[in-house]
């Protein structure tokens, strides 16, 4: 089902959503810096930045999250309390790459043997409103990783910015719940034509040439390659790529307690930090940047695909945009894909 939402009605539309839902959307913190946050009033929502610095994974998997609280009471033993999600949630304005990434993390956090209740509960209670990317950036390569600037997979509703209105598609059962909405008008053929035109234009802009297909098999042969000696050289191990990556999902668990009260908290962690794998004995199975850089890339393009059948990269380009030493994951993939004896001799900068 397709509708048209006039931008003049957008704030009212959001206001109505806020009555019944917790709404999460990009908020601009300062010029060029936006993140996904819980919205209190419609004016905060800012959909202008194509790739907000921090991805939408935060809505399901916060950077720092209380798992449970406890109170130690004498001989009674501690009492443990968990926080429950009260209201249904809406994630608005996430781009196709971020939405794809949520499904990648979901495969890890759910699964046959154990379910990560914190993630699963939020995922189950969230309706996702995706937003197409009219003007992809030069660092976007979603079309190379199986997605695209208008990839609708994972969205319950999908918005396309037509200039003075949003073109609205209802895609799933959760999305169909919106079919009666006083701000949605039936879309006409003109709206549809314009949407298609925008989609085609944007799709042509995205780099399709990053060699992702078959990368898993190629990396199988590169575990001990001298490539890793070069690849890590300029990396300073700051971990920004892993924190901003929408598919990275490693975390640490710590206790925070004062006297008799405390909480167990999980925090994002990064395989690029030496302490991440450092054992109490002093032994570190990944002692240098070589092993850590290898871990980051192999996890995305070899280990994860072995377990789940697709690469754990959605081509959002954040790791390229925000790396302080210009490590370009696309270059690494090109290098790893070059035929033996040819590209392998080439320089990886």
């Amino acid at each position: 089902m397709m509708f048209n939402l006039d931008k003049k009605d957008f704030d009212h539309f959001l206001k109505d959503l806020l009555e019944t839902h917790d709404l999460f959307a990009p908020v601009q913190l300062t010029e060029g810096v936006s993140v996904f946050k819980k919205i209190d009033n419609p004016g905060e929502v800012s959909l202008s930045q194509l790739v907000p610095q921090k991805s939408a994974k935060e809505v399901f998997f916060p950077q720092s999250e209380v798992m449970f609280r406890y109170q130690i009471a004498g001989n009674q033993g501690p009492t443990v309390s968990e926080q429950k999600i009260e209201r249904e949630r809406i994630l608005l304005g996430a781009r196709p790459c971020d939405i794809e990434a949520i499904s990648i993390i979901e495969k890890v956090f759910t699964g046959e043997d154990y379910t990560d209740v914190y993630f699963a509960e939020k995922r189950k209670r969230t309706t996702i409103i995706g937003l197409g990317c009219n003007h992809p950036l030069s660092t976007c390569f979603c079309s190379s990783t199986g997605g695209g600037p208008f990839n609708r997979a994972g969205s319950d509703l999908f918005f396309t910015d037509l200039g003075d209105a949003y073109f609205v598609e209802l895609l799933t059962e959760k999305g169909m719940a919106f079919r009666v909405n006083k701000f949605f008008k039936e879309a006409d053929s003109e709206d549809l034509g314009l949407m298609k035109e925008i989609e085609d234009k944007a799709s042509q802009k995205v780099d399709r040439t990053v060699p992702v297909e078959g990368i898993e098999k190629r990396l199988d042969l590169m575990v001990e390659s001298p490539f890793w000696d070069r690849a890590h050289e300029k990396c300073i191990g700051c971990g920004v790529c892993t924190f901003l990556c929408p598919t990275c999902h490693c975390f640490d668990i710590t206790d925070e307690a004062v006297n008799q009260k405390g909480q167990r908290v999980r925090n994002w962690d990064s395989c690029l930090f030496p302490i991440y794998s450092l054992e109490t004995s002093g032994h570190n199975p990944r002692p240098t940047g070589r092993e850590r850089t290898r871990q980051r890339l192999m996890h995305k393009f070899n280990y994860y695909p072995k377990n789940f059948g697709r690469v754990a990269c959605v081509g959002c380009g954040r790791c390229i945009l925000y790396c302080p030493v210009q490590f370009d994951i696309r270059e690494a993939l090109v290098y790893a894909s070059a035929k033996r004896g040819k590209g392998r001799k080439g320089k990886f900068k």
Binding site: M67, F68, Y70, I72, G77, P78, V80, E82, V108, F109, G111, D113, Y114, T115, D116, V117, Y118, A120, E121, V223, H249, C250, F251, D252, I253, T254, D255, A257, G262, R264, R266, D269, C271, Y276, S277, L278, E279, T280, S281, H283, P285, R286, E291, R294, Q295, M298, H299, N302, Y303, Y304, K306, N307
Partner: protein, 279 residues
């Protein structure tokens, strides 16, 4: 939805220092709730996350065998914040556990074969669980010969000394103990585990080898076993890595595409040969 991160409450029934350096303490835990006790089923080689609220949690192999109904045992090496707290905690106090976690030893695969158990230092915990499991009358016929090679730096650092004496008296298990430096009372061998193994040269015929010890010991023992013609598929080891969630979510303990917590901690040498040396 069941929350796999919530610890279940256990009560510390008894604690004992095991070694002369006083760094290893065995805890005997009992279940606080009857229903937890009934649903807790494990096999040797599995582990649990022990937690002391306010300090944190850490993974430890289960040292008791599934046959011992009296208590769940863990032997803790005092090394950091959580393990120090586990050394200080007094009998009667509450400890949280999550588990059993991990795959455990392949006891189905061991069935009908001889078992060679090789342990070093304080990594003997889950090996003790395995041996105790097979020495129980109910299970003794499940494997044929049992040979145990167990080494420590000094006699005082061997774990479960009373039990080792018991094993020595039995004729259905061959126990070889070795230390780097003996004392005047020491009657076992003197030498490193891999060298002692070479010396006693156990037959590899229809035999599975299980190694658990410090990484350096494992590294030098593998080639000795290969020289004794053990095929890689019949050599097993239990690995440790820095671990947090214990259920394959937090990402920390992977070796290649496998997770030590979920796909391990027990791996065959054949499996490890195919993985990056990230351990």
């Amino acid at each position: 939805m069941k929350n796999p991160y919530l610890p279940i409450p256990m009560i510390l029934k008894k604690a004992e220092i095991e070694t002369s350096d006083r760094l290893l303490r065995t805890l005997e835990l009992g279940f606080k709730n009857k229903e937890d006790e009934e649903s807790f089923r494990f096999i040797p080689g599995q582990f649990c996350e022990l937690s002391i609220l306010g300090k944190g949690e850490a993974p430890f192999g289960i040292a008791s065998s599934p046959i011992e109904k009296t208590a769940l045992k863990f032997t803790i090496n005092k090394a950091g914040v959580v393990t120090t707290a586990l050394h200080q905690i007094e009998a009667g106090s509450e400890i949280g556990i999550r588990g059993p976690l991990g795959n455990g030893y392949p006891i189905d695969f061991f069935e009908g074969k001889n078992l060679l158990v090789i342990g070093g230092g304080f990594a003997f915990t889950t090996l003790r669980s395995l041996v105790a499991y097979y020495l129980h009358p109910e299970n003794r016929t499940k494997v044929k010969q049992i040979t145990v090679v167990y080494g420590a730096r000094m006699p005082g650092l061997l774990l479960y000394k009373d039990e080792l004496l018991e094993w020595e008296k039995r004729d259905d298990i061959k126990l070889v103990t070795t230390v780097d430096w003996g004392d005047k009372d020491w009657k076992g061998k003197v030498g490193l585990v891999p060298n002692v193994l070479e010396e006693i040269a156990p037959s590899s015929e229809n035999t599975c080898a299980v190694i658990c010890g410090p990484p350096i010991m494992i590294k030098f023992t593998f080639p000795k076993l290969v020289a004794l013609r053990f095929p890689n598929e019949r050599i097993f080891t239990s690995l440790e890595k820095r671990m947090k969630c214990g259920i394959g979510k937090c990402g920390r303990c992977n070796i290649g595409h496998l997770y030590v917590c979920k796909d391990g901690p027990v791996f065959s040498y054949a499996q490890l040969e195919k993985l990056p040396k990230d351990y």
